[in-house]
């Protein structure tokens, strides 16, 4: 019984220790941001590795998500003679929810896992300790550019996802199923509100970019410096980041659209 309690206490303490370390790392990351003004090329490299290399999967999934939405919603809406609402429904779904959320999930799988594995391997092969020996702060040199790169890339990816999805839905709805071209766009413009929908979507994607890259960078930096530790850290990144995105999405949605 006592052992059980001690076990529980240990687990709790370890959890809060990790949480504390994560926040200390976040503070160090934020403190390192001004230094990047001197070395912007570090961020450019990371925007390339995190953002540009994720473009293909984002564009392809965006197109298909939009096309599937078009197909499914058309079949439902046409029963009510409301297929003219296809445009606004697709746009609202993508801009408010699917754009930021699906992009963040793909981003956690594509870019987050790569970040963790890279940083974890750097730690395992003692490159980070090597930097410290040369009086180079690995947090500022390695982690902060990656954090900022992810934070910049994520909202751009989410916006691209939404737009590509809306055109995917347009292709299926207007091109294949014969929804009126004019009503697709005009109804969309009538229903989608810039302040309420588009801006909130962008805020969501900023929050998700922040959380996913923070988790990815922390897991890599906090990984056990063994091959097993790195593999575990990579798995944890994807799982925790995805769960964090889904949970945070509910909280943000409740804050943004719940109280109306």
């Amino acid at each position: 019984m006592q052992n059980r309690l001690a076990q529980l206490g240990r687990t709790g303490l370890r959890f809060f220790e990790r949480l504390g370390r994560a926040h200390l790392l976040l503070l160090a990351l934020l403190r390192g941001l001004p230094d990047l003004l001197l070395r912007p090329y570090l961020v450019v490299q990371q925007v390339y590795a995190i953002g540009v290399l994720s473009l293909l999967i984002i564009v392809v999934s965006g197109t298909f998500v939009g096309m599937v939405l078009g197909l499914q919603l058309y079949n439902t809406l046409v029963d009510f003679g409301a297929e003219a609402s296809l445009g606004p429904v697709i746009a609202l779904t993508l801009v408010r929810e699917l754009g930021p959320v699906v992009t963040a999930l793909l981003f956690a799988g594509r870019a987050g896992s790569a970040l963790t594995a890279e940083i974890g391997l750097m730690k395992a092969t003692e490159q980070l300790s090597g930097m410290e020996m040369m009086a180079v702060d690995p947090v500022r040199r390695v982690l902060t550019p990656r954090f900022l790169g992810g934070f910049i890339a994520m909202p751009l990816l989410a916006a691209i996802f939404s737009v590509v999805g809306i055109y995917g839905g347009y292709f299926v709805g207007v091109g294949l199923l014969g929804v009126d071209d004019g009503s697709y766009w005009s109804q969309m413009q009538a229903m989608v509100d810039f302040d309420k929908d588009v801006v909130n979507g962008v805020i969501k994607s900023l929050a998700f970019g922040w959380v996913v890259t923070w988790i990815a960078v922390f897991e890599g930096y906090d990984a056990m410096p063994t091959s097993e530790g790195v593999s575990r850290a990579t798995t944890r990144t994807v799982v925790h980041a995805s769960l964090a995105v889904l949970g945070l999405d509910f909280v943000l949605t409740a804050l943004m659209f719940g109280v109306d």
Partner: protein, 156 residues
């Protein structure tokens, strides 16, 4: 050379992302339809505005000229006080314009339709529209219709 191509790709990526945001703002959302730049507010009292929401459209002759900016309950008159923000371009509405709460389609959303009068004076910021017509509540209409039917049936 290597850095150059990398920078170009990052440039393309950021440009594409910003272009996507621009499309969302301009093509997808209502930002272009009517911004909140300037304009003036007029008020109107209605007996019943059920279904009307803040940001519902205000139209003249079917053309959107503004939005509902606030809906309040006036405890003195037991009426709904609706504030409407009209675009600055549409500053020629006569003072005896009437307002009614209408429905687009049979079950569509509610909007405020303005019907311009013939007065020479125009509506200005803070003015109140005196002639109003409330929304049609479907249950009441059906109730009246049935009652009417029953009345005529009794005579025969």
């Amino acid at each position: 050379m290597q850095t150059k191509t990398l920078e170009i790709w990052v440039g393309v990526f950021i440009a594409a992302g910003l272009a996507a945001l621009f499309v969302l703002a301009m093509q997808v959302s209502n930002l272009t339809v009517l911004g909140d730049d300037g304009g003036y507010t007029v008020k109107a009292r209605f007996e019943n505005v059920s279904g009307l929401k803040v940001r519902s459209a205000v139209t003249v002759a079917g053309v959107r000229v503004g939005r509902v900016s606030a809906i309040e309950f006036d405890p003195m008159t037991f009426q709904a006080l609706v504030s409407m923000r009209i675009g600055a371009r549409y500053d020629e509405l006569p003072i005896d314009t009437s307002a009614s709460v209408l429905t687009s389609g049979l079950v569509g959303e509610k909007y405020v339709g303005l019907d311009p009068g013939g007065d020479m004076d125009v509506l200005k910021d803070g003015d109140e529209i005196m002639l109003t017509q409330s929304t049609l509540v479907l249950e009441q209409m059906i109730g009246k219709f049935l009652f009417d039917k029953a009345e005529t049936g009794k005579g025969e």
